[in-house]
Amino acid sequence: MQRVFQIFWATGILVFSVVLGSIFFAPDRTRDAHTVVYATYGDIKDWDPAVAFSLEVMVLANIYEPLVYYDGRAGGEQVLRPALAKSWSVSEDGLVWTFHLREGVTFHDGEKLTAAAAKKSLDRTITLEKGGFYIWEAVSEIRAVDELTLEIETSFPAPVDLIASSQYAAYIYSPAAAEGGTEWFNQGNAAGTGPYRLRQWDRNQQIVLEKFDAYWGGWEAEQMTRVIFKIVRESATQVQLLLAGEADFLSLISVDLVSALERNPEIQVDYIPSWKNSQFLLNTQKAPTNNLNFRKALVHAWDYSTVANQVYAGSADVARGIIPKSLWGHDATLETPVFDLEKARQYLEQSGLAPDERKITIAYIAASEAYQSAAELFQNNLAQIGIEAELNPGPWGTIWDAAKNPASAPNAISMTWWPTYATPSDWLTGLFRTEAQPNFNLSYYANPAYDQLVAAGIQLEATNREGAIVKYQAAQRLLIEDAVAIFYADLKERVLHRADLEGVRPNPAYNTIFFYELRRSAPTL
């Protein structure tokens, strides 16, 4: 019997000492100044640049490069910088665009960048018809004129240089990768021309990028040689990692923690203009929101200033229409509804709805605390004027699918939108153009006059920007008159990172951080 006790105590002491030892003598975090850690909340699903259409841009933008870069940091007007294309020009009739590629550029797998390679990757992206392929709608043919000259011909005049700067479906990848296809990409492979190559992908744990020595842009000593994307689902954990210095950037932050973090000297919060805006789309065909006056009551029962200043705690401005302030085409003079419960009650009376009909359902993404607080506040305000609101939070896939089927569609659904490339038409067509089978037009808005105005604008955009703006702003006024949605927030993009990192200048056109531009000042560890 004693033997059993001895074994029992021996194992106990052994295990305890192993645990203690590993707590104190684990390898010190060997993070040197040239490694940067980004805490992201989701793993990569599609590695194929032709298919990727959501979170992947965070990583792919550092591996691949488009022909042209859009620099959205210079305020409203449009600035295009050369990327893989040194220079480019368009024919008189606006139908043929010629791009002169940079020489001496190699892909990560050693192949050289040629016009043929560029043609092969763009052709593949278009024919695959996945992700953001539709931006090349206007293109009729792509020709490799000579080793470094690429011609793109369109069927109607379109801003191909602007389209080539898109963050989706515009990356150039090596011909060998194109051969390998989606199967090859999804095993965690990549072959682009960008500053970093993919070193390791530990599914559901982390993604590691490493410096590509032969990058055409060249390297300096203090630049970052290794980028680690750590998958951290909980935002509270992300905050802790940032505070502990185990992460340099975080992607999921609760609005209310930003002010607390700003006071921390080791953390820096940059606010940059972003083309993202949030609105609640009102279902114009489902009772009771099919009643215009009822919709008007709703848009006047939303407390715009409190939501922007308190719920979004300063990380959003009150929206003025669907086109955000930071993009060309925004109409500063547009006169939008204001929070006025009295007016809302009047519209409610005019709507003629009986008390038991005044009941709406509101769907929103459960994970977003901003939506939840805003919805609860709206629910509270509506209750004061006799409208009962039922909240249906859920994951995006679930609420989106319910919204697309008229029977199960809610009366209001949350929507945060950002353009594939810098054009107001992206909102106007994507969200409100008449669609037989609604994809994102979850307001079920079908107004021929509106569609006609938007189409006209698109035609003029490439050649006569001013004319296009007049059309777009007229279309926007219709949206306000028909109270199609509650436009309530132009989101200010916030980037939280360790203060010792410099060169953080996020570009609203690309949902990512260009790690190539970063430098670390005095080492803090």
Binding site: A236, Q310, L391
Partner: protein, 288 residues
């Protein structure tokens, strides 16, 4: 000859228990106080639990707000009080629904035995093959989140336990001679089951149900925590913790007090469950 305590009646044993089992008394006090809170929440709560007031957003615990305020400036103390109502309702509903489904299954399977028993128990096995929380999550995912769907899901994944416990005690009681003599009289089986078998075989089920009361509250809170349980405007402790999860490290009180409330209520329920087991299960008292 048994020692000093000969055959005590139920009330004598209860009095005995209260005098001697301190743990049971603590449990009783907690359970009763939560019951009172749940009943009188709307009167004794200092503030309206739903009132949104951004000026006092995320205020630390103070004389004005005992447990501080949440991200919308609502008084957490009042919300915890109202949350008691939801949690007690959860416990009662889930356990009673599970009993409602489980008892008939257990009774019929135990009494008839043979193929009927085999089929019913295999069905129960299927439900029991799902590790806990897996089945409720799958059902709530199918029905869509919401408190009542979550409670239904929990009840459906819970009834097999009661069916199994009742079945084993019914098999024992079925062999009792008073059942045999009723059968010999040609009494119809339904009457035998309801008048003779069921009243004498429910003790172990009641004991288990009283132990489960606390656990169901925990399970419902966990469901809300991962977004499958209660939804606003329902005030539920698990939901309160879940919605303040990201700011909890900075504003600790937003999650701490609801968590503490769950802990105390469930702890009280478990102590009460222990006591009830002693009360109803005579030969268990010397195993205390």
């Amino acid at each position: 000859m048994s020692a000093a305590d000969d055959e005590l009646t139920l009330s004598e044993r209860a009095g005995d228990l209260i005098k001697h089992n301190r743990l049971f008394v603590v449990g009783l006090i907690i359970a009763v106080s939560f019951l009172l809170i749940a009943l009188t929440a709307s009167w004794i709560a200092p503030h309206d639990p739903q009132a949104i007031d951004f000026d006092t957003k995320l205020a630390a615990p103070s004389s004005q707000h005992f447990f501080g305020t949440d991200v919308l400036g609502r008084d957490i103390f009042s919300r915890v009080l109202h949350g008691a109502r939801t949690s007690l309702l959860t416990g009662v509903l889930v356990v009673s629904m599970a009993l409602l489904i489980g008892l008939p299954v257990g009774l019929i399977a135990g009494y008839y035995g043979g193929r009927v028993d085999m089929v019913m128990m295999r069905i129960a096995d299927v439900f029991l093959a799902f590790p806990p929380l897996l089945l409720p999550i799958a059902i709530t995912a199918a029905l869509g989140p919401g408190l009542y769907n979550a409670l239904m899901a929990l009840a459906v994944s819970w009834f097999p336990w009661y069916a199994r416990i009742l079945r084993s005690s019914v098999i024992a009681v079925k062999e009792e001679l008073f059942v045999k003599s009723s059968q010999a009289m040609g009494m119809n089986p339904i009457r035998i089951m309801l008048k003779h078998v069921l009243p004498n075989s429910t003790t172990p089920v009641i004991v288990q149900a009283s132990m489960d009361f606390g656990y169901t509250i925990l399970a419902a809170a966990s469901l809300s925590f991962i977004g499958m349980g209660a939804r606003p405007p329902t005030i539920e402790w698990g939901l309160m913790i879940s919605s303040s999860r990201s700011i909890f490290l900075e504003y600790w009180w937003t999650a701490f007090f609801p968590g503490l409330a769950i802990f105390i209520l469930v702890w009280g329920a478990n102590l009460l469950g222990d006591g009830i087991r002693d009360l109803l299960d005579p030969h268990y008292k010397d195993k205390r």
